[in-house]
Amino acid sequence: MPANPDAAAVLDALDEPAFLLDRGGVVRHANPAAAQFLRRPLATLNGQPLAALVASPADRLAPFLDLCARSSQSMVGGLVVTDQEGRSLSCPARGCRIALAGGAFTLLRLQVGEAKRFRALTDKTISLNAELTENKRIRRDLKLALEEKEVLLREVNHRVKNNLQMLQGVLSLTERATADERSREAVRSVRLRVEAMGLVQRLLYQKDDVSGIDGAAFIRLLVDNCVSAFGRSDIAVTTTCEPVEVRSDTAFLLGLAANELITNALKYAFTDRPAGALAVDLTPHGQRAGVIRLVVADDGVGMAADAPPGTGLALVRHLVRRPGGSFSVESSRGTRCIVEFPI
């Protein structure tokens, strides 16, 4: 059934691709814009089922055409066509039933301008999707890398602690096997220094945050360890620690210094007496802001002004040489050592 010539002329004047279809969905007239859009000769379109000219799935095209054929109102739908690069392109379409002299037809118009906008939107969506996929891949790779690093860090940390334990064990065995009192004393000093560092290492990795440790808990454990190592249960020890977080690098210095001062007191302050008192205080601020203050005081024999500095005190002086550190000794009734480190 040929389309009405007047209607055909109207369609030909349109800039947008348009078709007149019969009830079977066969093209009875296509305008030049449709031929150009489909990149086919105009003469080959008439008489072809529309389904053969477009790439729309049959289960979507047929219901849409059926809807248009039954409606005098413009129905909104879409067709899928293949562009020059072979890509599928969705194109919005509007269709309605029109009554012409030759019978009822379906007028179908493709909204190509919309399709171009839609194409740009589609391209952008595809690009964004690709970007999102790439970002997901990067995030997944980073997560895996982070997990691997965490495993590696745990393993390294485990090795460090095990090696420190081994070192402490060697020193402990050596100390026990050393008959000479002075030599045994020297080995014990080294063992206590290693144990002080081991204690920092242990406390650092007992929690998730490795940036610092609980200074109060650390000093209490350290005091217990030193007092126990010297077996001086006759010394009344008081430990007063205010809550303070100590940075990991400072913690090692603080631990070594505290170990030396406590050890010094236990070794020398009470040599001529069966009992005495030792006080260890840790405060989160010294005389200046931003420093942590450790005071180790005893009521022992005191320190002679001209006494040559031992290894322990020399080590403390060395430890406080970093900016902000200080060390002073007061000796009148007993000895009072004050160490300050920047927090």
């Binding site: 745990r154 334990q165 064990g169 050393t178 008959a179 144990e195 290492q201 242990r202 990795y205 360890n225």
Partner: protein, 165 residues
């Protein structure tokens, strides 16, 4: 096996005694020495694959008055020593030799022999505690630990084990 570790047969030894160079256990004032009259010492099986650490533990515990019935580096050695020496408790490292997981071994020892373990590790976390829970741990000792911390932990573990029985 670590190059530091002696042959298994050398480790599988019966109850050791403190060496001559050590202070007498009585001086430590803890559980008393088994050689003298008094209660029998608590028998401890040490599962630790590092020979140096194990030797140090053995010395410290012997000095503190415990009887270390042997040192096992893996599950096979532990089971052999356990059947032979009947320890009261186990000091259990989490990573042992030949792929032995100390937590798995401790669970096995608890299920089969009602033997409980004091765990020793440089890497104690919530997951490890959860996995070890069925073995009813006697405690957790974090590496690195001092001699006194070790003795105190084993002493406390022995007390806890007594409470249970």
């Amino acid at each position: 096996m670590s190059s530091l570790a002696p042959a298994p047969s050398a480790r599988l030894r019966p109850v050791p005694r403190p060496s001559a160079g050590l202070r007498a256990a009585a001086d430590a004032g803890t559980c008393g020495d088994s050689a003298s009259a008094g209660p029998l010492p608590v028998k401890v099986l040490v599962c630790e694959d590092d020979w140096l650490i194990a030797s140090s533990i053995e010395n410290v515990l012997a000095e503190a008055g415990f009887a270390v019935v042997g040192i096992a580096a893996d599950a096979d050695e532990a089971l052999l020593l356990l059947r032979r020496e009947r320890p009261d408790l186990v000091l259990m490292d989490i990573q042992l030799q030949n792929g032995t997981n100390g937590i798995d071994l401790a669970r096995q020892l608890f299920d089969r022999f009602a033997l409980r373990s004091l765990f020793v590790s440089g890497n104690v976390n919530d997951a490890a505690r959860l996995t070890a829970a069925p073995a009813q741990p006697l405690g957790w000792l974090h590496k690195p630990f001092s001699d006194d911390e070790l003795a105190a932990a084993v002493r406390a573990a022995a007390g806890r084990d007594d409470d249970r029985h």
